[in-house]
Amino acid sequence: MPTAYPLPENVSPATVANTASLLRIIALGLISAAAIASRLFAVINFESIIHEFDPWFNYRATRVLASKGFYEFWNWFDPTAWYPLGRVVGGTIYPGLMTTSGVIYYILHALHLPVDIRNICVLLAPGFSALTAWATYMFTKEMKDDSAGLLAAAFIGIVPGYISRSVAGSYDNEAIAIFLLMFTFFSWIKALKQGSAFFGTIAALFYFYMVAAWGGYVFITNMIPLHALVLLLMGRFTSRLYVAYSSWYAIGTLASMQVPFVGFQPVRTSEHMAALGVFGLLQIVAFAQLVRAHVSSKQFQNLLFVAVVSTGVLGFFAIVGLTYKGWIAPWTGRFYSLWDTGYAKKYIPIIASVSEHQPTAWPSFFMDLHFLIWLFPAGVVMCFRALRDEHIFVIIYAAMASYFAGVMVRLMLALTPVVCVTSAVALSTLLDTYLDPTEPTVNEKAEPVNDPPSTNVPVTPKKAKKLKDKETAATARGALGDVVSSVTSAAGGSTTSPKTTKGIFGLDGRVAVLVNALGLLLFFVVHCTWVTANAYSSPSVVLASTNPDGSQHLIDDFREAYYWLRQNTAEDAVVMSWWDYGYQIAGMANRTTLVDNNTWNNTHIATVGKAMSSPEEVAYPILRKHDVNYVLVIFGGLIGYSGDDMNKFLWMVRISQGVWPDEIQEPNYFNNGEYRVDDRASPTMKECLMYKMTYYRFAQLFGGGQAIDRVRGQHMPANGPTLDYLEEAFTSENWIVRIYEVKKDDVLGRDLKVANAFGEGKKRKRTKPIARRKAIAA
């Protein structure tokens, strides 16, 4: 048999297999190391700190778990959040993340390794990313072979789409959820392939872990039934499918109901109905199979027809009836916004106000996935080629996830694993084809094609640069398998391998394609490293800017302000801010907040929005009613930090308008349709508390010069707003955080505006006695 390049001879098959497995282990180890290492940029560039917003709550909850134990955590009622409503934390969170860290913490302490809980939290995400790489490897191995698995593991290890949610310090549910997602899918595929109740149970257990860890578990809840349904419709019902699905659904659902936050949702909400329906359908189909084995085919067909129609109609009406009666909750708003991207903006501004819920911009696909994005369709095509049960799973996954990733930025995370898997399949097929040393025989005798499944493969032109597939009989064998087989055949001297008629001649074609592929991979690595270092490693608690000389300048206003609160205010002081900063205030300043990032109560958030967007005298009673001591606003106008409260202000207006349409109207905050904050700002805007707190004394900073708001690029009037009901308590170095203290009632019971005028020595207008007797005198 002709080969394109010489193969080593006299190597025993055992040696080859051992070397291959050693290389696999080393490769996996290196991939894990790379995955962890690239996520440490955040720690190296900044420090070991919890990032962003939600992680601060998770961290705080983990601290409670570590210090007070699991049962206290389970029953934790947090009186300092959502004041004065409080938050039943144990029943409103996914405890998987905290429990994981807590278990690690207890194990390390049992081993007398006194590791700080913060470091565990910071490094949890990188650690789990290594596990994700391994789970992806296992999953992809089921799709194709080891080499594709290794590629997929390498991709998922460093792809920015996943790194964005799992850098060190990004202590969020997604940190462990992607591993659980991939491992559940792997177990499901394994269970389906083997018809194994054991793997079905494993899948159920990891599904339970996933339910306990992330709200995105609904994705699994719908993916697996969808896969089962498609298999059913394709006529691929087997007892393997029945065993795998039944064991997964029964155990998984029962287990998931043990999570307090989920409770009875699996049997009562529309999102979970698909899984239940498919479970019922499988029982019916299995029963029908049983009946078919016992009755004649004519009878069976009649029976089947009647049964299918009646159960279908009954089931449909049952679900409609139950939904109508309120036994099954209808779809939630977040779900509707998945189908209609304008829905949230119209009806639930609080969902639309989260930047993560915006539709994805096209460049971010390239930013997050780089060249994988165009290998992805190729990989899906590869799956269509083989189209075994597991490939159908990947195809469905790819279709669903691409849609969702297009709708919401946040769901890019769900797309990333399948992109890595399919791209790895595509790239590994390419490499298989071009690394295969076997040269095609020149076809003289028009010998019939004898490799079994590949029937429709078009004839590959010589030296084609295009990506083409070479189907091999044993799909499980990849390039390595080919090498092994050719080595063995060379060593054994037996020419059992069939003579191929399609393939690549010579070395030059191979080298050209392989060098290209390698170049792409190298660029991918460079891109991933660059994106990770520059875009995704900022803790957003600490901001970085560049000095004129190129050195890094850290802006640490947030922590400065939070520590000020921590050290200078009463321990039970209540701080009001927009909900974005609730978790950070609770975590860093340890003070009571009105609203936070767990946006469960729209009215309470709208109340804060109303206070912010109303004039002082309207806002003051609201503040006093909620016992607010301090109000915190974020202002980026001095240094050009665009994520400040004035830019979010319209969302506050919209959300409160949803609750008080008579008092707050969005158009009032515009001047002829323009969002202005300078002297052309609308009167409502100039009067509202947010505007006043933001620009209070701002013009004075410029010492008579023209004050410029750098974020909105507008010139501020020289006479800024005045405050009567609040007083400035703290402003951070770069004016990013401004804290105001709410004044107490005047000791004389006067209106504070009057009291202030008196304090400044202004003459009071003479009042007249109330003419109570006038009617009598007349």
Binding site: N75, P84, K625, V747, L748, F758, R766, A771, R773, K774
Partner: protein
């Protein structure tokens, strides 16, 4: 040497507190205008000293002793016998330009007086018919001074004194001794604004009015003017003469329409019917109230706990039975001490989260003086609640207390374990278990033939 001295001083302060007449201290600063003679008020000042007050006199232009130093008030009470002292430094600008020569030193301004009140100092302010800083200060207390130069005038009852010296009957009031004879008054009345913190002590008689002329010729024009201009009528018993005001910090201030009523002359003057006047008694009662001798209440402590338990828990569970207790005492000027007080019958307790979820009476416990107690069930609603007692009655010290306590849902093991309503499910689970067991037993113990058939089928 320093330490023993300061210790001695603090001992002195302590001793003073123990024997003080007032519940808040006995040092009094009397700012007296140079036009007034201290001797003319000997009965008043003597009475105060007799009651244990230490009086310090200074003129409005003096700088020593200061009313306030480094934000700490120098005296517990301040009496301003400066009804006609005119100028006050109103603004920095005026001070810089020296437009006016101040009659008050810098430390007495309307702003600083309000500052004293918020620090807990009590004030006694006397007004006159002239427009002074003090009369504009009274506007801050929701008192409405009449136009300048309009004293109270009354022709009833017929008497030899001029019409501006009026005998006023003393009304029934918790802060005045019952049966006080009418008092002589001469000065300016004021109308009331709508502040709920005003405590009218002495009102004008219904025949009296405020006018700038002493004969009756202007009376009708006054009525006409008030109708045309829409100004309220400066007449009748709606006008106040001596009015108290209690701030949210429980400090008290009294505005008296004239300084003469404190003097010896009016105290010795007999009423038109020949009886002695009640001035001496009246001004004593007024100062006793103003300096927080009488009607001074306080909440000593509040406790709350579950029924059948001791000590306040960190948090309550919904539907807990809670006992709330408050201990209230009143100041007894006779013994200069706080004594348990059970005289409040209309106090209420609120259990509040944004709105009161529970509002119930907090009655005194019979047999235990000063103790007020109530038992109630916590609402079936979790959240951060406050026990709020907010008792405000005219003349009395305000009683306000607020204790924050979270009410949490039951713990995971506090719910009932077995529900009778769930028996269908229990029955289902048990029957399925038994059925599975029986089926397995039958299956495993079944004959070999069945196994063969099954084996064939799966192939």
């Amino acid at each position: 040497m320093r330490f023993p001295l300061s210790a001695f001083l603090s001992f002195l302060a302590l001793a003073n507190n123990v024997f003080a007449k007032s519940s808040t201290g006995d040092s009094v600063l009397v700012v007296i205008d140079s036009s007034l003679q201290k001797e003319d008020y000997s009965k008043f000042f003597g009475g105060l000293e007799e009651r244990g007050y230490q009086l310090t006199f200074r003129g409005p232009k003096d700088t020593h002793p200061p009313v306030e130093q480094y934000g700490i008030p120098g005296f517990s009470h301040v009496i301003l016998f400066t009804p006609e002292t005119k100028f006050v430094v109103a603004s920095r600008c005026e001070r810089a330009l020296s437009i006016v020569i101040p009659a008050y030193t810098f430390d007495i301004t309307p702003q600083s007086l309000v500052g004293l009140l918020s620090e807990g100092t009590n004030l006694l302010v006397t007004l006159s018919t002239k427009q002074t800083p003090l009369s504009s200060l009274s506007a801050e207390f929701s008192l409405i001074p009449p136009p300048p130069g309009t004293p109270l005038v009354s022709h009833h009852p017929a008497r030899s004194e001029p019409a501006t010296v009026v005998p006023i009957p003393v009304p029934e009031s918790p802060l005045l001794t019952p049966g006080t004879p009418p008092v002589w008054f001469s000065g300016v009345p004021h109308a009331f604004g709508n502040s709920p913190y005003l405590v009218p002590i002495l009102r004008a008689t219904s025949e009296s009015f405020a006018a700038d002329s002493f004969d009756d010729s202007g009376a009708d024009t006054l009525v006409d003017a008030s109708e045309k201009v829409g100004e309220g009528l400066w007449a009748g018993s709606q006008l106040g003469l001596v009015t108290g005001f209690q701030t949210l910090k429980n400090s008290r201030v009294v505005f008296a329409g004239g300084v003469e009523m404190f003097g010896d002359e009016y105290a010795n003057k007999t009423l038109p019917d020949g009886a002695p006047s009640g001035n001496e008694k009246f001004v004593r009662d007024v100062t006793a109230w103003a300096f927080r001798e009488t009607l001074a209440l306080r909440i000593d402590n509040t406790t709350h706990h579950r029924v059948g338990e001791e000590g306040s828990p960190e948090k309550y569970t919904t539907n807990d039975q809670i006992i709330y207790t408050a201990h209230i005492s009143a100041y007894d000027p006779e013994t200069s001490s706080w004594k348990p007080y059970s005289g409040i019958t209309d106090m209420q307790l609120e259990f509040t989260m944004l709105d009161p979820h529970i509002r119930i009476a907090l009655p005194p416990v019979t047999g235990e003086p000063g103790k007020y107690q109530v038992q109630f069930r916590a609402p079936d609603r979790h959240g951060v609640f406050k026990f709020v007692v907010d008792w405000r009655r005219k003349g009395y010290s305000f009683l306000q207390t607020s204790t924050t306590v979270p009410v949490v849902p039951p713990r995971y093991d506090q719910y009932p374990r077995f529900l009778s309503a769930a028996w269908p499910y229990y029955a289902g689970a048990i029957s399925t278990s038994i059925g599975f067991f029986l089926f397995s037993a039958l299956w495993l113990a079944g004959d070999v033939e069945g196994k063969k058939k099954k084996g064939l089928k799966t192939e």
